[in-house]
Every structure is written in C-alpha cells, then in structure tokens.
C-alpha cells in the first residue's frame, strides 16, 4: 500500500513547501533551519517537498506612508531602493540553498503586503506547508506593527510552520 502511494506521489509531483523571506536575520535563519531538517543531503533526491522561496517586496507607497509634498519625487528612489533590497534578499537565499546543495528551488519576488503575498502564494502553488520566520515581537509591538506570522498562521489554508531564532541565553 505504502509503496503504491509513494509511486503515485512521485508521478503527480512533490508536495510544495513555500518559505517566506524578507530582509531579516530571522527569515534567513528560518530558511536554513528548514533546509537543514527537511532537505538534508542524506535524504538525497527523495526529499518529499518541492521548495518555493517567496520574497515579498513592499510597495513604495506603503513605505512612504502619508503622502506629503515632494512624495512624488522620492517615489522613484524608494522604488529602486526596494528593488535592490529584494534582489539582495533573493541572492542571499540562493546562496543558502546552494550551500545546502538543494537545487530544486523556485524563487519568486512578489510585490505587495507580506501577509497577502504569502497567503496568495500558498493558494497559487497549492502548497502543503508554509514556513515563516518570526521577529519575536512582544505583545505591544505585535499589535502596532502587525505580525505576518500571526496572520499567516490563522489565514493560510495549509499547515504553517513558524521558525524562531533561539534567543541567546545570557
């Protein structure tokens, strides 16, 4: 029974794992942790997941906030800055993947709010599991800034894994 199921799985395609990353140490740690535990070389090519790395690029208008005089002038600079940041993020993610010898990866940069981008990516790829890092905000920061991991945990239609960077013990 089990072997039959495995055979059909390889024919249909592997289940998809979406990893959300942004320009923070926490999300790179999450990516590394995931690669370490789910894609180790010992599993070889028989790892059951296909990896899709999604980076959300915030829209320039959301970064600038309230429009004031001169906002229109600043827009192109902010736009190019954000593009540079997201390229750098993807580059770093690519490096991490190759250092763990994981080749079967797709990289995506989507513009928009991270929360929506990640949930939409899950829908689009019919992902089995979504992995996000966590900034480890306290309760107040979370209420003010909003928590992407929180939103995804409640709204994504698939299993969500929240990877935390361990706090250094003093």
């Amino acid at each position: 029974m089990a072997t039959e199921a495995e055979a059909t799985a390889s024919v249909v395609g592997k289940s998809v794992m979406v990893v959300g990353i942004d320009d923070s140490e926490h999300s790179f740690y999450a990516l590394q942790w995931t690669l370490l535990h789910f894609f180790s070389p010992a599993a070889g090519s028989s790892s059951p997941f296909k990896l899709v790395v999604v980076s959300a690029k915030p829209t320039p208008t959301s970064v600038i906030g309230l429009a004031g005089p001169g906002a229109a002038d600043v827009l192109p600079f902010v736009e190019s800055d954000l593009r540079k940041i997201s390229l750098r993020v993807i580059e770093k993610a690519k490096e991490i993947c190759t250092s763990h010898s994981v080749a079967d990866v797709e990289f995506e940069v989507v513009e928009g709010d991270a929360r929506n981008v990640l949930c939409e990516a899950v829908e689009k790829h019919h992902a089995e599991i979504l992995v996000v890092g966590s900034h480890g905000y306290g309760a107040i920061k979370r209420t003010v800034l909003g928590s992407v991991s929180d939103y995804c945990a409640h709204h994504a239609h698939c299993t969500v894994m929240i990877v935390k960077k361990p706090k250094p013990k003093h």
Partner: protein, 187 residues
C-alpha cells in the same frame, strides 16, 4: 553549519494531542510528512529522531457549580440561589479516574495511528493548563519542533476560548508547526 549528513536530520518532535479531531489529523500529517523514508524500516524513528506525544489534562476543580437552582430542601422552593457544592472525595476520585481513562484512550488511539505508520512514539501526560504545560515541556525536552492542531476557530471564538496553537506560536522557544484541518471543514 551542517556537520554530519544523516545526523542533523534527527529531530525531536513533540506533538500535542487533544480530544479534538484536528489534533489527530495533525498527528497523522506530521507522521506522513516528517517521518517519511524511502525504505520501509520497522521503526522509522530509529533513523529519523524521536516522537513524543503529550496530552495535557485540565486540573480538576475541587468544587462543582450546580447549573440550576440547588434544591436541597424541597419545602423551600423559594430558594433559587446558586451556591457551590463542595464535592466529596469519592466524587473527586471517580471524576479523576474517568479523566485518566479518557486521556489513556486518547493516547492509545494516537499510538495506534503512529504504529500504523511504523513510528514508535513516547507518551506523556501532564496536569495543568494545556498551553503553558506544552510550551514548558517543549523547552524541557529541548524539542526541535512542536506540532499542534488547530480548530480553525473564528476570531471572536478564539478570543473567548483561547487558542492553544496561538499561545504556543508566540511563547514556545522552538519552531512550531500548526496543522489545519483539511479544507472541507471550513465553517
């Protein structure tokens, strides 16, 4: 960072088991996806790490609130005041025994699921508030991953009833995996 090949994959996985359907689904999801291996070894945990099942029992209340007016004296029907009744020790014992039996049945079912997927699991029962006990235990055993089910409650119900998965997501020190029930069950 990756020193050995096979060793790094060994994970200590803690799975929280409750009486909800979502919880057993979470367990079988975790077994399917975390403990897969190409060959059918008699015990997959040997090569792939430890699986621990934890069930938290709510602490027993030592007195019981009657739901309606307590009529100890049929002649005094005018008394419609609710008052707490202290339970005798024999009642407490039987409730506790029933609770333990319940937990045991639950863990039995969970072990059955594990065994059917060729995974040996250890069982732990703790007393106390589920959210805190699960997080504490995860820290104690230095779990690599904590798996919880999710009831898929709406925002309001979650605020009132409290969410174990939400609490664990914020307070656990290790990565948390929240398994949602399959799409058919959306309210």
């Amino acid at each position: 960072m990756a020193d050995g090949g096979g060793e790094d994959k060994k994970m200590k996985v803690l799975v929280a088991v409750e009486e909800t359907e979502g919880s057993l689904y979470a367990l079988s999801w975790a077994l399917d996806n975390l403990f897969t291996s190409a060959s059918d070894v008699p015990d997959k945990t040997e090569s792939l790490g430890r699986l621990v099942l934890i069930h938290a029992q709510q602490p027993l209340q030592h007195f019981m609130h009657p739901v309606g007016p307590c009529m100890t004296d049929p002649h005094h029907r005018s008394f419609s005041v609710l008052f707490a009744v202290y339970a005798t020790s024999s009642v407490i014992d039987s409730v506790r025994r029933a609770q333990e039996q319940n937990s045991r049945n639950l863990l039995e079912r969970a072990t059955q699921v594990c065994r059917s997927k060729l995974v040996e699991a250890e069982m732990v029962i703790v007393d106390g508030d589920p959210k805190e006990m699960i997080c504490q235990f995860a820290e104690q055993m230095q779990a690599d991953l904590l798996v919880v089910g999710s009831r898929g409650l709406s925002k309001i119900r979650r605020a009132i009833l409290g969410s174990v998965s939400g609490y664990c997501a914020h307070h656990a020190t290790c990565p948390v995996l929240i398994v949602k029930p399959p799409k058919g069950n959306h309210p």
